[in-house]
Amino acid sequence: MLFGISRELIVHLVIIGVVFFALQITAAVLVYMERKVAAVIQERYGPYLVGPKGLMQPLADILKLIMKEELRPKGADVVLFYAAPILSATAAFAAFAVIPFGADTTFFGFLDSPIHLAAADVNVGLLVIFAISSMGVYGVVLAGWASNSKYSLLGGLRSSAQMISYELAYGLSFAAVILLAGSLSLRGIVDLQDGYWFGVIPRWYLFLQPFGFLIYLIAGVAETNRAPFDFPEAEQELVAGYHTEYSSMSFALFFLAEYVNMATVAAVATDLFLGGWHGPFPLPAGFEWIWFLVKVFAILFFYIWMRWTLPRYRYDQLMEFGWKWLLPAAVLNLLVTAGAVIYMGW
């Protein structure tokens, strides 16, 4: 005890702070990564002027955005126009709060009893993530409507239609894992993936749910509005979609929200399908979170790779794919999983 503050409280506050800043740094790293990977794929150099190898480029971008003038279109709804980016960013950060990212630890003896590594440990964690990610759509719709611009409105409408359509497949791919684990707690699901089959293959749900993982990845890309599903901001048609009219820090908040959402989707995939912090070989106690980080960035790299490899779908193809292929596939996957759980005792 220190001035009446327990060590647990200090650790909890530190974890919350670390998660918050780590997410912002992740977003900055992702911006750099995106530009560098895109450059490699397109045989360009990418950013290389600011700092060594262009590493300071995200910082320069942020500075530029802060310096810019905050513009508001004539006829925009003042309250909703400014509420939209805040809502987007808040939802993005809030969803990450319930994601566990490391094994229980005492911080090398600092604490008497081990605590969970997560900003908030909730036993209905998966539902919280699902609920908050369904709130994220409002930021986009709101921005589209409040801007009083036809490009923004079209972008916002498209995005809400897309997010509703793919949320179903997204949720059903969760459900198959919930069935296998018999738990809604992300920590519980990760703990069940500890150990190895035949002493070599890690017990990840990826191997029991290969289709579930695929459906999750596809629906996750659509949920975060990234290529090849980046209709809300299809540049050729809609200028920049829902954030056409935003500038300066309001734009930066949308940008931040997009990358934080990507990180959340990747982190949930890691916890649900890739065993969280359980790796192919164990790391020393207290460093398990490194596995988590490696896997999250592997998935993020995959997303960036996909963006610069695949062209955008057509809008009707997107809807057809979502409703006629992805959703039935997810339902089938759920049914087969349920059968396996009941009759084969998985």
Partner: protein, 173 residues
Amino acid sequence: MDAISFWILATILVLASVLVVGQRNPMHSVFLLILSFAALAGLYILLGAPFAAMIQVIVYVGAIMVLFLFVVMLLNAPTEEATSGDRIRRMFGAGPRHFGAVLSAVFAVELALALIRLASMPMPSADRGAPVATVYDIGLRLFHDYGFAFEATSVLILVAMVGAIVLARREAR
């Protein structure tokens, strides 16, 4: 702590609900309604029902209000014009509105009676150690004990959906 949270959430809930009715811009109404749903979810958490809270957010905020929003945006509902003195006359003039007034009066009386009875009833103790309803329990109740009612409700909703599509569909030929 719980009491403070309750009063904050309750204030938001009541204020937002009242303001929903008072908005001229339907878009603002929709967002105030979302706010009140979110506050209600917070109250569920305080009551020790996190599952109900999350379902409240997923179903009402995540699905139903998005559809509301869609309708408001696609129909481009205009902002209500500010009306002058004849507003009150209009409100009580039309027959349906008369009916509405009677209905709300009945409802108000009912609510008052319920509150009076509630005051004389013993309140459940605010014991935080009491077991909360788990997802497992709810699932068992819903699909086992109340299985028939559940299925009947879903058939009802399906019928309503098919009916809506039949009514809204334009004839091909």
